[in-house]
Subunit: 480 residues, 2 copies
């Protein structure tokens, strides 16, 4: 059994989530560590998930009028200094190019941790009049933040992939209208593709992006009771416009600063997806983004059986999309079952001699382990149906987790004990003061993930910390 | 006329191709310079061309079984040293990260000029047995070569975008079979999409990639009589396998080195496309990759006329794909014509009051200037037809240029004078010796672009330089 143990996941998700996660990512073949500390290799199985996400986001951005472009990887130091306030947060994390060939550079160059500086330096030349607005640009690229020596694939790596949208408008209205459309796009991709439920809301002053007037986020609750931040949208107001002198002449000939937004969706969401759905047997991937949707494992013990089984297997294989035929001779069926479970293929199709004789196959679902006998002529329809069911069921389970993991409290001791014992989101009334937020963090290490839009105004409620009139119901949680 | 002069291209292609190119790229809105020396911004109009190229290459690679992945941007110096011979050529061009935050790095990191080192460091762990082969991986990424201070957009920039394919096989057969398939893919995209004819062949020993056993290339001839290298495919043999210790156990249990290939297609092809087709009035883009395929310019002088014209214009706009409506009130029709010519929109649709009355429009082709009156009900069909015609016609013109620009010579003085006076490809018999190649280069600055596959063996011919028995017909040309 050594081989099987090597192949399978040896850590339980509940017992050691970090080690379990590492095992799932590596053994499923999604990613690999590299010889560059803190950086990983996105293997084809994860990169193809990213390509599907990219396609869905691109389609939605296209409808919003956002166009893709590409700006330089490098940012001259003097440009970064223009956005000192915003950039301060990134300073300890910047990788610097100081040499080229065998010469020192006159001015060192930052590798983009984010592209505000290099993009807005162009925007100031591109925008002249109200007719040049709105300017809606997105780029898909790699960014570098030198924070973590030990990579956690997808979740914490020094280099990661993302899209960063940067739009400029004549007025705040543009920023706020597109806010809804961009967050809708993000939420649809999270929910309908990655099967990750979202809590949409506004970040507090303390937690917002330093360059922004307001930050909006999608927050997720993981099975271990911790929250994780998803994609964000920032209303930058005129903050960057002032730093980079991006002005336009309005219809009355008056010169004004543009209003800006920035928003991003990163490969971190793949990590969230893995943590959300996977189990002790390995990876579970929502079918819509699965690189392989189904795998056929033929089972036989003789040449004659092989002939009969393979005939049915080939027929089934030809009728299915993104379906893999595992006809390797050097692995047992049981071994193959394990391997495809670890790799998270949503549907396994077993075909043995007795099944072949009756023109039937057995369909096994990765998430529930449910088995179903189906006649060959119904395989295509049933597989589609089961893939749909699985997609819905993963989202349903994650939604229940979110609902059950959210507890409304009004008492500070309850807040403290829930955060410490159960985790999850603690919904509590809050006065809006930073000091209360900070005290909760000191006491529990939980922060306000965001101020959810779905919560009503806290009519007559008192701040859970200080007892003053509450302004908002908010979610407290320990976060990744 | 100052404004119009500002808008239009002021340099003639024949008189100053470099300045003309710069004007076309910037004024057409394809790209912009940036505040990082040698780096450009790919604006949406050029990035969308790249996205179309990417989609077509991806589709073809998928059929060859090549999968996309993503490897780190950084390469530790010690890994580069493993491929000393191959890497030597890149050493003067490498950008080095030496600091992160406020600390010096223990080991400096190269920004990938190409990814052999970082990828093969993983391959050595991924490949164990013949069952792991072939391993066919591609990545789309940004690479950095610190060569040119002054960027020529797309053609010579310090950072550019490309795909780099890196495959490993058990035997040379795999490398050579996929060579044809990959070069077919490249040639189809060049010819059918970018309308760039290709001369496919093998590079000489002198001109091949230093890490390769053999390099194959697609070469193009530009209207200025200079050649430019297109995408390449390298048969690396066991060169990298030995440097990086990538071995597999074959079916008989014997340990062997893998055989490898590398191949790439870069954003430089966009530059070649621009130089090939564009003219003194601005950009000309093959319709299949054009961001905007047609533009409607309504023409009117009164409110009543406007109403009638716009009604027809809206109807036409609704029926066409990637069609832009230019209903700006602050520009004259003539000014709009100029602008869209500079920007290279393949078809202009003019609708004036008399045309509107008769339910007709005027269609004008960007490449030829040909005008055609069409009834509204036939617009969709005619536009499709004209776009097809234009796509074919650009390719035909470029093919004629290649044919007329290729001259067969047997006399050394002819070679020298043609290279110096006319340019183009000089087809000449060559003995295969490096010294003759070098002497031609010294005498004329022309090199052997490649040994075209389409040329027959030079039966009984003598080397144009030394008079020894010729081994190949080759193309000499001055090159970019």
């Amino acid at each position: 059994m050594t081989v099987s143990e090597e192949l399978g996941i040896t850590t339980k998700k509940e017992e050691d989530p970090a080690e379990w996660y590492r095992e799932v990512v590596i053994k499923s073949g999604l990613a690999d560590y590299s010889s560059v500390g803190g950086c990983i290799v996105f293997k084809p199985r994860s990169y193809s998930i990213w390509e599907k996400v990219r396609k869905e986001i691109d389609r939605r951005f296209h409808d919003i009028g956002i166009e893709n472009a590409y700006f330089p990887l490098f940012i001259p130091e003097k440009l970064l200094e223009k956005e000192a306030e915003h950039f301060e947060g990134f300073t300890p994390e910047v990788a610097w190019v100081t040499r080229a060939g065998s010469s020192d550079l006159d001015e060192r160059l930052a590798i983009r941790p984010t592209s505000e500086a290099i993009m807005y330096d162009s925007y100031k030349d591109w925008v002249r009049s109200w007719r040049d607005l709105p300017l809606k640009i997105n780029q898909w690229n790699n960014v570098v933040r030198w924070e973590f020596k030990h990579a956690t694939p997808f979740l914490r790596t020094r280099e990661f992939l993302w899209q960063e949208g940067h739009c400029a408008y004549a007025t705040d209205d543009g920023v706020l209208e597109d806010k809804e459309r961009v967050l809708d796009a993000y939420q649809e991709v999270c929910e309908d593709y990655l099967a990750i439920p979202c809590v949409r809301g506004r970040k507090t002053e303390k937690e917002k992006f330093s360059g922004a007037v307001d930050t909006y986020s999608l927050e997720h609750l993981l099975p271990d009771g911790k929250a994780i931040q998803g994609p964000t949208y920032h209303n930058d107001g005129t903050n960057f416009a002032k730093d980079f002198d991006i002005t336009y002449t309005d219809e009355d000939g008056e010169e004004k600063y543009v209003r800006q937004s920035t928003f991003g969706f990163s490969t971190r969401q793949i990590g969230t997806m893995i943590m959300m759905h996977s189990d002790d047997r390995g990876l579970v991937v929502p079918p819509k983004v699965a690189p392989t949707r189904s795998v056929i494992v033929p089972i036989y013990h003789s040449k004659d059986e092989r002939k009969a089984v393979m005939e049915v297997a080939e027929k089934v294989h030809g009728s299915l999309e993104r379906c893999k035929m595992d006809d390797r001779e050097n692995k047992t069926p049981g071994r193959k079952f394990n391997e495809w479970e670890v790799k998270g293929v949503p549907i396994r199709i077993e075909i043995g001699p007795s099944e072949a004789e009756e023109d039937q196959v057995t369909i096994v679902r990765r998430d529930t382990g449910e088995k179903k006998m189906v006649s060959v002529e119904n395989v295509e329809e049933t597989v589609e149906e089961e893939l749909n069911n699985m997609q819905k069921s993963l989202f349903k389970r994650a939604t229940e987790l979110l609902e059950e993991g959210t507890q409304e409290v009004r008492d500070y001791d309850d807040l403290v004990s829930i955060v410490e014992e159960n985790g999850g989101f603690v919904k509590a009334p809050w006065c809006g003061k930073k000091i209360c937020e900070e005290i909760v963090k000191d006491d529990t290490s939980a922060k306000i993930t965001n101020i959810p839009f779905m919560y009503d105004e806290p009519d007559g409620e008192k701040c859970i910390r200080c007892g003053d009139k509450a302004k908002h119901w908010v979610n407290f949680a320990k976060s990744y």
